[in-house]
């Protein structure tokens, strides 16, 4: 609404209250938060207020039964500022130490919650002004995080473990408060290997993975080793930044890669590769990328950290629902974020994709989003670090896992937001049909015929 318009004009149309939209309808369409989240937040606040006013369960139930929940809330809102409470809750209850934050990300679909939280307003909803900054590679994201240029960053889930242990850098206490995504990777091979679908035929192949300390590296090694190939002797594995992978595949420098999306789908889109297996088929539900921050940030700015974690969990919960995926793909595809054709991002997120072999595949959980940082996942990663000689000597698996993966913080944040965290932080997994028991990590490492230790 223009400041020059006549506010006493009785014929004036009911316009948008914030002045940025043409009509009230448009204003509502733009300012309404995703309703499911809204309802959940409102339920949490209303429940808390009711419980505070009527601490006695029996009295509360009696009152509600007598007048009905709607009337009860309407009555309470006469003397209690419910709307303000809802807003205050959404904004985070305690004063934030810092509201302007910088979060680094690598332009891959694993970073979806971190990226989408910016254009879709999840950071703003928790009172934060976050700049999401595209970063050129994992080593740079590590260095910029260690240099405190970033307050928090998108990392590969093994990286906070490696940084804390001092593998590949100085040991600095690092944390991983939330998992970004589960599944969402694939093994892509060059089109000329169409008829070599059996990994036993891969001797002498050159593969690329994004980083040494990555699920990609461990999953590729696991996969070929299960098929009887020694990843250190029978094939070559190089660390190559994702954007170079497609170019290298086209130039015939590599035979394939286990990479994050949209790289796999981009190779198909450009007609240079086909998707051999999704990482989901190796370990359904495996963690991949992480939301990470230094222990120092977590300790020095607990309220800011909490608000940021909530924004990420909020976005992750939103991203986990299939019906939101197309909208998310459109939000994160532009040049400011992933810089990819929308159809490529959409194929990854919706799971309806061209496989490069002439078929349209439908795998809705090709990539999924689940924030809970299971300690058992950290233990699995550590067993693979041990298996391939990245860490030597004895490892206190449980201790490292519990120091780095902040399952308690995540559970608390999830509870406050009305989401249900799991009761335990250790779970059993089946990786290519082989059982992993997090209570016996050393036995698990020793059970592999192909290993470096």
């Amino acid at each position: 609404m223009s400041i020059f318009s006549n506010s006493f004009d009785p014929k004036a149309k009911l316009a948008c209250p914030c002045g940025r939209h043409k009509s009230l309808a448009e204003h509502q369409a733009h300012t309404q938060l995703p309703t499911a989240e809204d309802d959940r937040l409102i339920r949490v606040v209303d429940g808390a207020v009711m419980r505070a006013l009527f601490p006695d369960d029996a009295t509360r139930r009696g009152f509600l039964r007598a007048v009905g929940a709607g009337t009860a809330l309407a009555a309470i809102s006469q003397f209690f500022p419910l709307a303000a409470a809802r807003e205050a809750f959404a904004q985070g209850s305690k004063a934030l130490e810092k509201t302007k934050l910088k979060v680094g990300f690598i332009p891959i679909t694993c970073a979806t919650p971190i990226i989408m939280a910016h254009p879709m307003g999840f950071y703003a909803r928790h009172g934060l002004e976050v700049e999401v900054i595209k970063t050129a590679g994992w080593a740079v994201i590590r260095d910029k995080s260690l240099n405190k240029e970033y307050d928090a960053a998108h990392m590969l889930s093994p990286m906070p473990l490696a940084i804390s242990l001092g593998v590949g850098s100085n040991p600095i206490p690092w944390t991983m408060p939330a998992v970004e995504n589960i599944n969402g990777q694939a093994i892509t091979l060059a089109v000329k290997h169409k008829d070599k679908r059996d990994p036993k035929q891969w001797k002498g192949f050159k593969f690329a993975v994004p980083f040494d300390y990555s699920m990609h590296n461990y999953l590729l090694r696991y996969y070929v080793a299960e098929h009887g190939l020694d990843p250190d002797k029978d094939i070559q594995i190089r660390a190559v930044p994702p954007p170079e992978m497609v170019a290298n595949l086209r130039a015939d420098n590599i035979d394939g890669f286990l990479a994050p999306d949209p790289v796999n789908q981009r190779a198909v889109y450009d007609g240079v590769g086909f998707i051999h297996v999704l990482s989901k088929e190796i370990w359904d539900g495996h963690p991949c990328c992480a939301f990470s921050a230094s222990r120092e940030f977590v300790d020095a700015m607990p309220n800011t950290f909490r608000a940021l974690l909530k924004a990420i969990i909020d976005a992750t919960a939103y991203a986990s629902r299939a019906e939101n995926r197309k909208e998310i793909a459109a939000a994160i595809a532009p040049a400011n974020y992933l810089n990819q054709p929308v159809t490529v991002v959409e194929q990854v997120l919706t799971g309806t994709y061209a496989d490069g072999l002439g078929k349209v595949q439908r795998v809705p959980d090709r990539i999924d989003f689940a924030p809970f940082p299971w300690h058992s996942m950290a233990v699995w990663i550590l067993t693979q670090m041990k298996r391939w000689g990245q860490i030597k000597g004895d490892v206190d698996y449980r201790k490292v896992a519990e120091q780095v993966f902040l399952a308690t913080d995540a559970a608390k944040a999830m509870q406050e937001m009305g989401l249900a965290p799991p009761d335990t932080t250790y779970g059993k997994y089946s990786v290519m049909g082989k059982e992993f028991d997090p209570t016996k990590p050393d036995a698990y490492v020793a059970s592999f015929a192909i290993r470096k230790t």
Binding site: I133, K144, D270, A335, N336
Partner: protein
Amino acid sequence: MSSLALGARAAVVSLAILAMFLAFWHLGTLGTGPGAVMDSEYAKLMGATATTGQSAMPGPSQVGHKLWEHLTNPFYDNGPNDKGIGIQLAYSLARVLAGYAIAVALALPLGFAIGMSPLIYQALDPFIQVLRPISPLAWMPLALYTIKDSGLSAIFVIFICSVWPMLLNTAFGVATVRREWLNVARTLEVGRFRLAFAVILPAAAPTIMTGMRISISIAWLVIVAAEMLVGGTGIGYFVWNEWNNLSITNVVIAILAIGVVGMILDQTLGRVARLVTYPE
């Protein structure tokens, strides 16, 4: 034949070469017609390279079209990771000028001292020779690790790579000022300070300018590599971001822009060099 006629003829030949280059480029990147047969749902999910057999390399018309888009809107700002090519070039130029200014401030006085004293010259020479050929990419991790700021690291890398030619040329220019001129000055009992500024500096100026000109070219070479590595802003980041998108069209445009700006920087210093040169 007058020089004007020669210039005109050269221009004609230049244009002919350009036309031939564009023609070959156009022919070389023409599509091969429809690609493999695929059903319509599948085809919708695939890119033009796979469906129409279009070359992965863009043709000159595509590049021209995209270039026009960039030129008509060079200063747009869509957030921290998507800015117009004009803004990116400005970031890169600012970094180059900062690193280069530090290099000038250090190389000229130090080069002067080295040139005046054969002892310092010979003592420092081995260090300079070892440090000179180190690539900017090799300095980058070290800079990031010690300076702990990616912006400053980029400036440091420009400084460290562009300082050597200036230092060596200044030292060489100062050391090879003609003996007779120094002797004349000494006969006239000119003070050391005045000797440096009134005799040596003007005499060595052309050589110093040559060094500065080589250095600015190196600085401009370095910035692209540095920004590709640390990202954020700048024309090097632009190249990386478009590479990420596998957009060869935009990479070609960036290369063109880098070339043009590099030429302008070199020509500017070339003009200055002509001003300080004098006929003997």
